[in-house]
Amino acid sequence: MNRSYEVMFIVRPDMVDEDLNKLISTLESSVTGAGGTAKSEVWGKRRLAYKVAKFNDGIFVLMMIEGIGATVHEVERRLRVTEQVIKFITVRTDEELKRLEKVKKLRDAKKKTSAVPAAAPAPVTPEAAAPTTA
């Protein structure tokens, strides 16, 4: 039973690209070592909404992880230990993704049945969409 998580973390704005890449690759290898998969995205330097560790901006990195909870726990521990990381958040995404898929499926099914009288679906669709979200 694999779960999917997103770990977003912020590193100090003065961190060099080289070090950042090294950090990301070590994190990724720790995930893959534990039997999971990881994918990272560097958002780049962004302004923070409030001061964090006396920094006004930081480099945002998003990491998508698939695996068990223990892998994420390990990644979090590493992030906590790393001094350049000033903030991080973990969000579990698999349940949300599942729900989105379900909604999409429902919507597609509805579209197929009402594909013929699709001339004026505008007043109908908002109402039709409401039950799916509930």
Partner: protein
Amino acid sequence: MADETRAASAPEGGGGASRPEGRSDRGGDRGGPRGPRPGGGPGGSREGGRKYFRRKKVCKFCVEKIEAVNYKDVRLLVQFVAESGKITPRRLTGVCTPHQRRLSKAIKQARNIALLPFAGRAQ
């Protein structure tokens, strides 16, 4: 001359003025799915026959079919955060309950990772 203009402008101001409300312009088309409903709150005919029509608010997420309310989508979230940093209540934005629930969760997550401010405007 002066009398005439005053007489002409008075009924216009009384009848045509829709009350400028917080964020009612966001809801999209007037009426929404259930058709236009005049007067969510009647202005009452007490004050010199002043009437206004309140537009029926609709949930932005239902109308535009935005299902994924994500903490990373700051541009979407700021629309539902007041200038002070507070989450705008449903009664002002018209967002439906299930979507408001997800929205508030996303806003709180975004605050946690410094994408949105806890209080005040982002620096």
